[in-house]
C-alpha cells in the first residue's frame, strides 16, 4: 500500500466487539498473580525474570516464581505509562532505535513504578534465550549487571531455511545439554534437585493449557468467528506465566464453554451480520492503542488469527522419559512460529489463510522488533501472489506511542478496507 492516501470515508458507525463473558475472570487471575509477586518480593522468595521463548515451566519445577518483563511492559503500554518510561531510558543513553519493551522495563525499574502500572521486582536471577531476538539476551545482560543478579542465557541455534533433520538433531542435542546446565544452575540457586515427577506434572499442566488453546483456535475457524483478538490478546497470560498451575486451565475451560455456547447460538464476536472481513494480524499489538482493533471492527474487520498469540501454545509430548521430554521441549524452542524460517513462515501463513477463511493480512512492521520484521516483504509478496488477498505492511511500534500517527494510520486503515472490499467483490 502506498503511504499517501486520502481519507475517503466518513467515520463508520461504531460496532461493538463482544468479549467472551469469562474474559473478565482474567483480571482476578492477574491480581492474584501480582499479589503473589509482591509477597515473593517482600519475603525474598526465589523469583526469575524470563522472556518469551524461555522454558518457564522449569521455574515451576523448582518452585521459582516467574516474572515477565515483556508482560509488565505491555501493561505499562496499555495503561499509557510506557512513553514516560521509554523517554527515561533514552535519557540514560539508550538509543531511540532499541526495543521499546526493553526501554519500558529500564524506565520501570529505574523509577520503581507499581506492579499494576507495569512495575516489576528484582529477581533472584534472569533467564532468556536468543531464539526470538538478540534483544532478549542483551536486555538481561544489561539488567542482570545493573541489579547484580546471575543470568542464564540459552543459546538456541537458528533453524534457517533448508535445515535438515540430521542437523536439527544436533541442534537439539545442544539445547538438551543446556537444559542440564540450567538444572545445575537452578540447583545451586535453590538447593533443590529436579524431580522427574514434578517435571512431568508441570509439563502435563502446561500442555493442557496449550490443548485448550488449540481448541479455542479451532473454533476461530467458524464463520462468524466466536473469538476476536480483543479476547485472545490478554488471554495468553496463563500460557506466558502460569503454565504450571491449574488456574489457567480453569480459565481456558470457562472461555471454551462461552465459545461453545456462542457457536451453538450461531453468534460471533461481532454483532449479527457485521463480520465482513476476517484478518490475520502478525506481530505484537500496539498496547497503547488497542482501540485500533475496535476501529477495524467499525469497518466490519475482525482479527481472527494471530501467529503471536498462537505461538505461545505449542503442544508437548507427554509421558516420555526426562531426556526424551527435553528433546521435545528443545525442538519447540528451536521451531515455533515466531522463529520459523521464511519458507516455513510463508507456508504457515498460507495454510492459515485457507483454514481460517482469511480476507486480508496486517503485518506489523514493528520498529522495535527487527527480527520479526525480517522477511516481511517477501511474506507480503508471496501472500498477494498465491492467495490474492490484500496485505498491509503497517509501520508502527508495540509500546512507543510516538510511532503511531493518528491521521496517516486512519487513512491507511481506510485504504486497506477499500482494498478488502474490492477484493471481496
Amino acid at each position: 500500500m502506498s503511504g499517501s492516501m486520502e481519507t475517503k470515508n466518513a467515520s463508520p458507525e461504531r460496532v461493538r466487539v463482544r468479549n467472551l463473558p469469562s474474559t473478565g475472570k482474567l483480571k482476578g487471575i492477574m491480581m492474584r498473580y501480582m499479589l503473589k509477586s509482591k509477597i515473593v518480593e517482600l519475603f525474598r522468595r526465589k523469583s526469575a525474570w524470563v522472556t518469551a521463548g524461555f522454558p518457564v515451566e522449569i521455574c515451576y519445577v523448582y518452585g521459582v516464581h516467574p516474572l515477565h518483563p515483556e508482560n509488565s511492559a505491555c501493561i505499562s503500554g496499555a495503561r499509557k505509562y510506557s512513553l514516560e518510561l521509554i523517554e527515561h531510558a533514552e535519557s540514560l543513553g539508550f538509543s531511540r532505535d532499541l526495543c521499546s519493551y526493553f526501554k519500558t522495563n529500564v524506565g520501570a525499574t529505574e523509577k520503581g513504578i507499581k506492579l499494576k502500572q507495569g512495575g516489576i521486582g528484582k529477581p533472584t536471577f534472569m533467564g532468556s534465550t536468543n531464539t526470538i531476538c538478540d534483544t532478549h539476551v542483551k536486555w538481561f545482560q544489561i539488567q542482570a549487571r545493573r541489579m547484580e543478579v546471575p543470568y542464564f542465557g540459552f543459546d538456541i541455534p537458528s533453524a534457517v531455511a533448508g535445515t535438515g533433520d540430521a542437523r536439527m538433531e544436533e541442534y537439539i542435542d545442544y539445547v538438551v545439554a543446556q537444559f542440564y546446565d540450567f538444572f545445575d544452575f537452578m540447583e545451586d540457586l535453590t538447593g533443590k534437585k529436579i524431580t522427574e515427577k514434578k517435571f512431568q506434572e508441570v509439563l502435563r499442566k502446561s500442555d493442557k493449557l496449550c490443548e485448550l488453546w488449540h481448541e479455542i483456535y479451532k473454533y476461530r475457524k467458524d464463520v462468524p468467528t466466536p473469538v476476536a483478538f480483543q479476547d485472545t490478546l490478554a488471554a495468553i497470560f496463563p500460557m506466558v506465566l502460569l503454565p504450571g498451575l491449574d488456574v489457567g486451565i480453569k480459565y481456558y475451560q470457562a472461555l471454551l464453554k462461552d465459545i461453545k455456547e456462542r457457536v451453538a447460538e450461531g453468534k460471533g464476536a461481532m454483532p449479527p451480520g457485521k463480520e465482513k472481513y476476517r484478518l490475520i494480524f502478525e506481530g505484537i499489538p500496539m498496547w497503547y492503542r488497542i482501540k485500533f482493533f475496535h476501529e477495524l471492527a467499525n469497518y466490519g474487520a475482525v482479527v481472527t488469527y494471530e501467529p503471536y498469540t498462537f505461538s505461545f501454545g505449542p503442544r508437548k509430548r507427554l509421558g516420555l522419559p526426562l531426556d526424551e521430554s527435553l528433546r521435545d521441549f528443545a525442538r519447540l524452542m528451536i521451531d515455533v512460529p515466531y522463529n520459523y524460517s521464511l519458507e516455513k513462515r510463508i507456508e504457515y501463513f498460507e495454510q492459515v489463510i485457507d483454514e481460517y477463511n482469511i480476507d486480508g493480512v496486517i503485518l506489523h512492521s514493528n520498529m522495535s522488533c527487527r527480527p520479526s520484521c525480517s522477511g516481511m516483504l517477501d511474506l507480503k509478496k508471496s501472500i498477494q501472489r498465491d492467495k490474492g488477498i490484500p496485505v498491509w505492511v503497517m509501520d508502527c511500534d508495540q509500546n512507543d506511542p510516538r510511532s503511531y500517527a493518528e491521521g496517516p494510520m486512519k487513512n491507511r486503515m481506510e485504504s486497506f478496507i477499500e482494498l478488502l472490499e474490492q477484493n471481496k467483490e
Partner: protein, 357 residues
C-alpha cells in the same frame, strides 16, 4: 586460478581455516557504502541494519566469481536474513554456520559439531579432502597473517599511520588472497617502519563499537585529530589480537574453537564481561586516555552495550564520547566539530590531571 568463498558474518565468526584447507580463499563481504541499497531494500525494510543491507546488495548485484557464500551466525541480521539471501542471491552454494552465543563447555562441544559438519560439507561440495595437515597449514598461514597485523598494529602508537592506512591493511587481511596478502603486509611493514614519528598534533584513541566497514569514517576521526591506536573491531584487533593455538599435537578444530572463544569478544556474545575486560586492558596497556564509542544506526547489539561500556570506562576515569553513526561516506562537519571539541576537552582534562599529580 584463485577460488574464492565469500562470507557474511556479524563480526569475526567465520572459521576461515576450514575454507583455506579446502583450497579456497576467504573473502569477507563488506558491502559498498558508495552504492545505494535499493537492491536489498526490495526485501529488507530501511530500519534494518544498513551494513547488512549493503552486504546483501553486494551479493545481489556483484559479478563476483564466488564458489559460494557462508553466512555465519552473529547477530539477528545473520540468521534472519539468511533466508532472504537463500531466496534471492544467485549462488551455487549457500551455507549456514552457527557460531555459538556462549563460551560454556556445552557451547564448545557444539562448536566442534558445527565445525565438523562444515568440514564434511566443504569436502563434499568442493570434492577435496580436508586433512589435519591441511588444517594445520591453514592455521599456520592465518597466524603468519595475524602476526604481521600485530606488528603493524603496534606501530600505530609510535609512527605516523593515518587511520585509513591501518583500516586498509585490515580490509586486505579479510579480502585479499592469502599468498599475495603476506607479501603485501610485508611491504606495508617496511613502509610503516620508515614513517615519521607519531605526530604531535594528533591524539591517540581507542575505537570501539559496531564494525566500521568503510574508510571514510576513519578519515573523519583523523580530520578531527584523532588517531586510532587501539580498537576491538573485526576489521581490526578482533581479527588478529590472538593467534590460533598451534600445539605439537592435537585436533586442529579444537585450536580453532579455542581461538574463537578467546578473541576480543563482540557485543553479540555472552557473557558480556570479556568484551569490557579487553577494552580496559587495552586502555591500560597502551596508556590511553580517550575512547571513541560508536554504533551504526540500527545496529542493536552495540547500541545495547554502549551505555554500560561507556559508563564503566568513564568510571575508570577515561574520557569517552559515544556517537551514533549513519551508514554514509559523506563528510559530516557537525560530527567533526563534536569530535574536535571532545579532543580538546579530553586533552585539557589530561593536562589538568597530570598537573595535579
Amino acid at each position: 586460478m584463485v577460488k574464492r568463498i565469500a562470507y557474511f558474518d556479524a563480526s569475526h565468526d567465520f572459521p576461515e581455516q576450514i575454507a583455506m584447507a579446502a583450497g579456497l580463499e576467504p573473502y569477507k563481504i563488506l558491502g559498498n557504502v558508495h552504492e545505494p541499497n535499493d537492491p536489498a531494500d526490495q526485501y529488507l525494510q530501511s530500519f534494518l541494519c544498513p551494513a547488512a543491507r549493503s552486504m546483501l546488495t553486494e551479493a545481489l548485484t556483484g559479478d563476483q566469481d564466488w564458489e559460494g557464500i557462508v553466512i555465519a551466525h552473529g547477530c539477528d541480521a545473520t540468521n534472519r536474513f539468511y533466508d532472504i539471501w537463500k531466496r534471492h542471491v544467485d549462488t551455487d552454494f549457500l551455507y549456514w554456520f552457527y557460531n555459538p552465543l556462549n563460551d560454556t563447555p556445552s557451547a564448545i562441544n557444539f562448536f566442534k559439531v558445527e565445525l565438523k559438519r562444515m568440514k564434511d560439507v566443504f569436502e563434499r561440495q568442493f570434492d577435496v579432502s580436508i586433512t589435519d595437515d591441511k588444517l594445520w597449514a591453514a592455521i599456520k598461514l592465518s597466524n603468519d597473517i595475524k602476526g604481521r597485523l600485530q606488528e603493524l598494529s603496534t606501530m600505530r602508537a609510535v609512527k605516523d599511520i593515518p587511520n585509513r592506512d591501518y583500516f586498509n591493511a585490515c580490509v586486505q587481511a579479510v579480502q585479499m588472497p592469502r599468498k599475495e596478502l603476506l607479501s603485501s603486509l610485508d611491504e606495508t611493514i617496511n613502509d610503516w617502519k620508515g614513517r615519521d614519528a607519531f605526530p604531535a598534533d594528533k591524539s591517540p584513541v581507542l575505537l570501539t563499537g559496531s564494525d566500521v566497514t568503510y574508510v571514510e569514517w576513519m578519515d573523519t576521526l583523523d580530520d578531527a585529530g584523532l588517531r586510532v591506536v587501539r580498537d576491538d573491531l573485526s576489521i581490526g584487533e578482533r581479527y588478529f589480537a590472538r593467534l590460533i593455538p598451534h600445539p605439537s599435537e592435537g585436533d586442529p578444530l579444537d585450536s580453532i574453537i579455542q581461538y574463537h572463544v578467546t578473541i576480543p569478544r563482540p557485543a553479540t556474545k555472552n557473557p558480556p564481561e570479556p568484551r569490557l575486560d579487553y577494552l580496559m586492558n587495552a586502555m591500560e596497556e597502551s596508556n590511553l586516555n580517550m575512547v571513541i564509542s560508536q554504533n551504526l544506526k540500527f545496529c542493536e547489539p552495540y547500541a545495547f552495550d554502549s551505555v554500560f561500556t561507556v559508563n564503566a570506562l568513564k568510571e575508570k576515569g577515561y574520557q569517552v564520547i559515544h556517537l551514533e553513526r549513519e551508514f554514509s561516506p559523506t563528510k559530516d562537519m557537525s560530527l567533526r566539530t563534536r569530535l574536535e571539541a571532545f579532543r580538546e576537552m579530553a586533552t585539557t582534562n589530561r593536562v589538568e590531571k597530570h598537573s595535579r599529580l
